[in-house]
Symmetry: C2
């Protein structure tokens, strides 16, 4: 506690920390420049999709995408945000003089019975819905629900497409840092803890930065999603079997996954891509690695047939379980 004479700092209510906790997540996302600048650029360079159009922003957060759309000339924007941050978004929109254009709807998009102003259809759905390796903790289901209920037949999803990529990878730095450290700690052998450290590492996919030079093959494109066409049921299970042609000597510790999303329209305009791969600037999604229970030495001669399956969890449809099997 910080107290100063009669000007004591006080905390007003218990909601406060929750709301700040949520704000810090939005801060992290806003400070992710490749992410936010890709949306800004996509909207600015495709003003023909927004000018005088009706837009829905699913999961609007602080309202930044709605504001970009309004600045690109949208006639009306519905900023759908079910969490507490909706109140903040409304204030931000007002402070930016855009309350006449943007209406914040503070409910789940699935719960909207009718849109204000007698609107029946929207022309563009914008949303930043992507999770780790695209699908984990993503909001894509909600965005597709909104599309099926509210999108005009000639409407556009923005982003319009998404791709998932995979490549075998050498994670020696991770293992050196987290496992190797314990072998000699200031001259003391602490390898007794290594089984626990390894079990923890292998218990879940690893989310972190993988350097481009640690990929052991060219990226393999394992899934394409057309946001204008895919159905929610298509997202239940995604499986891909591919042969990964090793391109350098290394130690295979796992398979690295990442994605990109594409902003393009059949109505023309400029295509913008948001990349999250090892060959592009770091984003808050980083990369996701399925670590193998044991490592293998590999070299240029090797071709590795692997099936990667992403299964929507029974308990939480926003969570996926990753599995990996050698063989096609």
């Amino acid at each position: 506690m910080c107290e100063q004479n009669d000007d004591t700092v006080e905390i007003n209510n218990t909601d406060y920390f929750e709301s700040y906790g949520q704000l810090s997540v939005h801060e992290l996302m806003l400070k992710d420049k490749p992410r936010t600048l890709a949306y800004m650029e996509a909207i600015q360079k495709n003003q023909h999709l927004f000018k005088d159009k009706i837009i829905m922003d699913v999961g609007a957060g602080t309202g930044i995408l709605s504001i970009f759309a309004a600045k690109s000339g949208a006639k009306r924007v519905f900023a759908v945000e079910a969490s507490n941050i909706a109140h903040t978004a409304r204030k931000i929109i007002s402070d930016n003089g855009l309350s006449d254009v943007i209406t914040v709807l503070d409910e789940r998009v699935e719960d909207i019975q009718e849109l204000p102003f007698g609107v029946r259809q929207v022309d563009v759905i914008i949303s930043e819905w992507m999770g780790f390796y695209l699908l984990h903790e993503s909001m894509l289901n909600s965005v597709l629900f909104a599309r099926d209920k509210w999108m005009s037949p000639n409407g556009t999803m923005f982003p319009s497409h998404a791709n998932i990529y995979a490549a075998p990878c050498d994670m020696r730095e991770l293992f050196n840092d987290t496992v190797g450290f314990w072998q000699d700690v200031y001259g003391v052998n602490m390898s007794a803890v290594i089984p626990d450290v390894v079990s923890n590492l292998l218990s879940k996919p690893y989310v972190g930065i993988v350097k481009q030079n640690r990929l052991l093959s060219k990226p393999v494109h394992i899934h394409s999603i057309d946001c204008n066409k895919i159905s929610i049921s298509d997202l239940q299970t995604l499986t891909n079997s591919s042969v990964y042609q090793v391109c350098k000597v290394g130690v295979l510790h796992g398979f690295c996954l990442w994605f990109d999303v594409i902003f393009s329209s059949t109505l023309g305009g400029e295509t913008v891509v948001l990349h999250t791969g090892p060959d592009h600037p770091e984003t808050h999604w980083k990369q996701t690695v399925i670590l193998l229970p044991q490592s293998f030495d590999v070299s240029e001669e090797d071709a590795i047939p692997v099936t990667i399956t992403m299964d929507s969890s029974q308990d939480n449809h926003r969570h996926y379980e990753l599995s990996l099997e050698f063989g096609e």
Copy 2:
């Protein structure tokens, strides 16, 4: 989940993550080189205090300080550790061939009724007990309890002394990062969130790195602790009133606190100091800043009389509440 053919990764029990969580805290502390190397150096350079002596290590963790003591020739070391990590420490000690010298006592030091092998007194108590700004979440009370109950009249506490320092500081980078960011977010005015951001920042002391050039006066030594003499009751409330002579133009945002601990003995040997101040390499304690509800422009002419009080919390004696008052 990562699955591979018939070699599926399994998680065995719920204790597991707890124990890993705890391990990661020990990893952080072990990887703090200024901290661990100061203890190693202090013990290695003062072998006369350890050779053929009986040592108690309070809060032994992974057992590293006990092992340093054993390697410096201790006759017997009692490694007192009440948490689960005690089992790991025992395995590490065994792997390093030191089970004959080091005995792990997996209980709170306050609960020890008698020491093994008929030992009545110890010659040296080693412990890494320090918390943020020395006292917050520290184990000093337990270490003093151990001293009063088990230390020989000619015994040595190691570290033997501690000092707390303070200086007014300019935190412009912190305010720019956490407050200024919201003023212009990709051209959008998000200053609506600033009151919440500021309230959150001021609601508790800030723990982070303060650069030496952001201090606005020379460090003022506000408390000295002689670990061989101080009593537990002396730690209830620590107050210091000092005048801080501003040495440069800047903006006063708060008062920075840090500490050092000293390893020295009346029995001679080499003094070693573990520093955690802005003018020394970063440690996991970083620095602690009491932020003021408002900032002030200051310049070389200014002398700032301030009383800083550290009050042991009624609810949790390991927590302190900081308060700051202008005036002496």
